[in-house]
């Protein structure tokens, strides 16, 4: 894999991101009640963000022959769903910062934030229904079916992850981890955007399984990189460093540390993770971090992420073999490198 960061990926993310943002704004009403609802809805979307998901959707659609206008509504829906999930995630994880600013529930309290999250979810249907006009009933229906599947997978993955925390499961293998990531993260972040994009572009005439593989490998690499950044991120990192450890999130690095630890270390780890977030202290979090360094967990995570990226590139080459060259084709290929090299 080349080490050079391309300029194409940020350029396209910006281009498609801006277009999605502009259309998204038209779906968020600015009427009363603002303080309690509508301002909250626009908060997270306005904070920026990479717009990776909608961009992948649009790129995949164009790659398979659609026009940008055919995919823009779906891209908007994806971004709305993503933001809705962020709101819920932040509440569940007890996070304090999002994109450099306080999380929504810290600003407005949990009940209002929850409400806003639910509303955003429901509002994401509007653009999906508007698809009828542009791409026809059949495809609209198919996209909604995919959305349903994605929502289901997401909920199941979420349940898995939360369940581990709730029941303090620490004996988790890498395969379990990957399965959880597949459902919880990959479906919304990569698999779904690419699949519906390809669905739109090919008018539902192709087998979507290869895209599932590509999306999974890409999304998993993305997630692992995300978790790595949480450990080693610098000032530009928008969330708190080591925040995952504070939350007790079962990252690949954490379960690797657990697997490699001595019996004594494992017991202490389990005991710390058993407590709720408020019950953990800074020295304990630092200890866990040192444990990870001791067993080379970050290095491990990095290697796995690279391997997955390689697999993603391979799958992508199978998908894109017969397709004409284009910016979108290159973009989706370079995304793989981008997800593991970004910071």
């Amino acid at each position: 894999m080349s080490g050079t960061t391309s300029s194409l990926v940020p350029a396209i993310l910006r281009e498609y991101g801006d277009l999605t943002r502009a259309t998204l704004a038209t779906y968020l009403p600015s009427r009363e009640p603002r303080r309690y609802l509508y301002d909250l809805l626009s908060d997270y979307p306005q904070r920026g963000g990479k717009m990776m998901r909608p961009s992948m959707c649009i790129a995949a659609a164009r790659l398979f022959g659609a026009q940008l206008e055919d995919a823009i509504n779906t891209a908007v829906a994806i971004e709305l769903l993503h933001n809705a999930l962020l709101i819920h995630d932040d509440i569940e994880d007890g996070s304090e910062k999002r994109r450099g600013r306080p999380t929504l529930h810290l600003l407005h309290g949990i009940p209002l934030a929850l409400n806003a999250g639910d509303t955003l979810t429901l509002m994401s249907f509007r653009p999906l229904l508007d698809n009828r006009v542009r791409i026809g009933e059949r495809l609209t229906l198919r996209i909604i079916e995919e959305t349903e599947r994605m929502a289901r997978e997401c909920a199941e993955g979420q349940a898995m992850e939360l369940g581990w925390r709730r029941y303090n499961t620490t004996e988790i293998g890498d395969a379990d981890y990957l399965e959880m990531v597949l459902k919880k993260t990959c479906w919304l972040s990569t698999i779904y955007p690419i699949r519906v994009g390809a669905l739109i572009g090919s008018r539902d005439s192709i087998d979507l399984s290869p895209l599932l593989r590509y999306g999974f490998f890409l999304g998993a690499a993305f997630q692992i990189q995300d978790d790595l950044l949480n450990l080693v991120g610098d000032d530009s990192y928008g969330k708190e460093v080591n925040g995952d450890i504070w939350e007790g999130k079962r990252t690949l690095m954490l379960i690797h540390a657990n697997r490699r630890s001595t019996a004594k270390e494992r017991a202490r780890l389990s005991e710390i993770l058993c407590r709720p977030r408020e019950g953990r202290t800074l020295p304990e979090v630092r200890w866990i971090r040192k444990l990870m360094d001791k067993y080379g967990c970050t290095e491990y995570g990095r290697k796995i992420a690279h391997g997955l990226a390689g697999a993603a590139l391979h799958e992508y080459s199978l998908i894109s073999a017969g397709l004409p060259d284009s910016r979108d084709k290159t973009f989706l290929e370079q995304m793989v490198t981008w997800v593991i090299e970004r910071n």
Binding site: G65, R138, S202, R203, S205, D207, G322
Partner: protein, 735 residues
């Protein structure tokens, strides 16, 4: 009780649509139930199809008219017309429809093959048995799956041709390519036993991932054919993938090979387009879409083919260029904006290629006015239809909405006409002239029959020009008193001028005139001293399209010479036509000098064309300096025929015939993407004493052509009289 009075039907316009409606309503089977009167401006019927006779009785047309072997309705009516007319062959050379029409021998698309000849792509599409207008057999030929099966069959034929072409050219490159074939070659076909066999074979092919040889490719296409057969059980989804596989493999195998061979290249382009079309039909679910081909009418044909994998080369091939040229599919007449609804295009192409009978193209043996409208006029007169020439429609007036009773629909209250001229002694105008026993329309009215006729002749009144509004009187026809029903058969170009009541009150009419766009056309005809071979064209006579713009369509009409009355016969006649752009500034159109200016433009264009471009077709028609040999042109009025005038005289062109068809009702209707939904049907009953007719209505074909106009006329007749039954209108029900 009093006897039922005949129902009065006013048919406005005398083109194909109106004439067809009148022909249906006046059928003897109706026993005189309908009293039809046709109102026509000027002196001749025909509309865009009108033709006249000029000096030396030469035929002077608006442009080139070719009929297609798929014009089932048009042929049916004209055959019935001739059968009813029963002309005496001893007196008239064109007595039977087969004297009027014959298969056009050769239609080329401007692409030369290796030996320099123009190459007949259409020879790969054998027309069906029988003749157009024959009764259709029971097996329903008009399903999309049957078109798919036929396309697959043609695909196979084309692949075989490529295979044959390659081996005959024995290019080393070809043998190198086949040598590169993967070891996992598809072996030669096993015989298909049982219903599962095709499915298994297809599944196996899909599993291989690619098809290595042309032979295997051909076999794969055979599988497609089988799969599209009427009683096949193979689900459509799998076929889409098989097609993908075939397309990708064919491209890989053949694209490089056909590069340097123009004939193979066009074959390959045909294959490419066929595959793209099939792929599109499957991808867009047209087989099961209730709208059939209409489902893709929002796309431009080229764009749609591109979406389905056709290469840019194929999209610029003469096949596609010709398709756009033949229907003038250039928005505002601008060659930079070719646009044609994909559904209309695909339907038209499939019908032309697969449901033509006798021949794909048919030519006429005299002007269209002489072969079609004159016999129609005679038959209609025999049946008691009345004709009012020199009546130009000015307005169709609707009843005031306030006057409508509860639940009553809007209706036409009055028709306002300008009477351009009256006939001496109140007689009826006799429009036809005799040319060697054949009744024909003249290029100018018979002034001797008209009151003030000599004044009109001196003034050079142009009764057919939109800009010459001079009139003798006005006449208003009123509902109940003068008419019960109206068939409005004027061209769409005229609608904004005569239907303001509709446009202002009815959003649909407003949308229709906004979105249904038209173009001008231009044409010229020349009569030549030398025959085609002497001019450097060695091949049989033909019509050619996709040539150089403008005047990209050329037809050799030398067969018409014997119909004309020259003192010394020309050896060749050539017709050229094309689209004509709209002026940049719309205000120019209102100026009274506009038509003259455009005519001048066409003349200049034609002269330029003959000087610069004709050499490519007729190498010997140009002199040493490459300019056209003007003395080749024959002037019907020259005093001493046969004596050559010194060359280089542009003024020679003055004696030829050319036209800028800029009258609003002469404008040709386009099928732009997204425009089809704005058409209105003749069956529409919003105004319950009016029906519209013309190729601009929703008539099934929804494209500008004779067949569409005839179908619409028959639909209009159905709207009024419930006859013919819709199922009788061939291919109205059609995907």
């Amino acid at each position: 009780m009093t006897e039922q009075k005949p129902i009065k039907v006013a048919v406005i316009g005398g083109g194909c649509a109106s004439i067809s409606a009148a022909f249906e309503l006046s059928r003897p089977a109706h026993k005189g139930k309908y009293q039809v009167t046709i109102y026509q401006l000027g002196w001749r019927l025909g509309g865009k199809g009108a033709s006249g006779r000029g000096p030396a009785n030469r035929i002077e047309e608006h442009g080139l008219h070719l009929w297609m072997g798929s014009y089932e309705n048009a042929f049916r009516l004209i055959r019935e017309c001739y059968a009813e007319l029963r002309r005496d062959r001893r007196k008239c050379r064109i007595a039977d429809w087969r004297d009027a029409f014959s298969p056009a021998p050769f239609i080329g698309l401007a692409e030369r093959s290796q030996n320099g000849a123009y190459w007949n792509f259409l020879s790969y599409f054998p027309p069906g048995n029988g003749l157009p207008g024959d009764p259709l057999s029971e097996n329903d030929p008009f399903t999309i799956t049957s078109y798919l099966a036929r396309t697959a069959s043609i695909l196979r034929t084309l692949l075989l041709a490529v295979q044959a072409g390659r081996s005959s050219r024995s290019s080393t490159k070809a043998s190198r390519d086949t040598a590169k074939a993967r070891p996992s070659d598809q072996s030669s076909s096993e015989s298909a036993e049982g219903p599962d066999e095709p499915a298994k074979r297809i599944a196996r092919l899909l599993g291989l991932g690619w098809i290595a040889t042309t032979a295997a490719l051909i076999e794969a296409v055979e599988m497609l054919e089988l799969a599209f057969a009427p009683r096949s059980i193979y689900p459509i989804d799998g076929l889409a993938q098989l097609l993908e596989l075939i397309a990708a493999s064919a491209r890989r195998q053949l694209e490089a090979i056909v590069e340097n061979d123009p004939e193979l290249l066009v074959l390959w382009q045909g294959i490419d387009l066929a595959m793209a079309s099939m792929r599109g039909i499957l991808r867009f679910g047209l087989v099961s879409d209730p709208r059939g081909f209409d489902a893709i009418n929002d796309y431009d044909f080229r764009d749609w083919l591109r979406m389905n994998g056709a290469s840019e080369r194929s999209l610029e091939s003469p096949l596609i260029r010709g398709a756009y040229d033949l229907v003038f599919a250039y928005e505002d007449g601008d060659y930079q904006r070719p646009r044609h609804g994909a559904g209309v295009a695909l339907r038209g192409a499939l019908r032309m290629l697969f449901s033509s009978r006798g021949a794909i193209f048919w030519k006429m043996h005299a002007g269209m006015g002489d072969t079609v409208f004159a016999p129609m006029y005679e038959v209609l007169k025999q049946r008691g239809v009345a004709f009012k020439f020199f009546h130009r429609l000015e307005a169709v007036r609707l009843a005031d909405p306030k006057d409508l009773a509860q639940g009553e629909r809007a209706y036409v209250k009055a028709l306002e006409f300008d009477v351009q001229a009256k006939v001496e002694d109140g007689k009826e105008y006799a429009p036809l002239m005799d040319v060697g026993g054949l009744p024909c329309w003249p290029s100018k009215p018979d002034y001797s029959q008209l009151v003030d006729g000599s004044t009109f002749e001196r003034e050079r009144r142009d009764f057919e020009s939109h800009w010459d509004r001079r009139k003798t009187a006005t006449k208003t026809l009123r509902v109940i008193d003068d008419f019960d029903f109206v068939v409005l058969g004027v061209g769409i170009g005229a609608i904004p001028y005569v239907c303001q009541d509709f446009i202002q009150r009815d959003q649909r009419w407003n949308d229709m005139v906004t979105h249904l766009k038209t173009v001008n056309t231009q044409a010229f005809q020349i009569w030549l001293r030398d025959d085609m071979e002497q001019l450097g064209w060695p091949d049989p006579p033909l019509a050619l399209s996709a040539f150089v713009h403008p005047f990209e369509t050329w037809a050799d009409m030398s067969h018409l010479i014997r119909e004309e009355s020259w003192k010394v016969n020309p050896k060749a006649v050539a017709y050229f036509c094309s689209v004509l752009n709209d002026p940049v500034s719309p205000r120019d159109i209102t100026a009274s000098s506009y038509p003259k200016r455009r005519r001048q433009e066409v003349q200049d264009s034609a002269i330029r064309y003959l000087n610069n471009d004709i050499a490519q077709l007729w190498p010997k028609a140009v002199g040493r300096r490459g300019k056209f040999k003007w003395d080749l042109l024959m002037d019907p009025k020259e005093k001493t025929p046969g004596r050559r005038v010194p060359a280089g005289d542009h003024a020679r062109f003055e004696s030829q015939h050319w036209t800028a068809n800029v009258n609003p009702s002469d404008r040709y209707v386009l099928s732009l993407p997204g425009s089809q939904k704005y058409r209105i049907s003749p069956l529409d009953n919003t105004y319950d004493n009016l029906t519209i007719a013309g190729d601009w209505t929703t008539c099934g074909l929804d494209a500008g052509c004779v067949e569409a106009a005839v179908i619409s006329g028959r639909l209009a007749a159905h709207a009024i009289s419930s006859s013919p039954v819709l199922e009788d209108i061939v291919a109205f029900d059609h995907p």
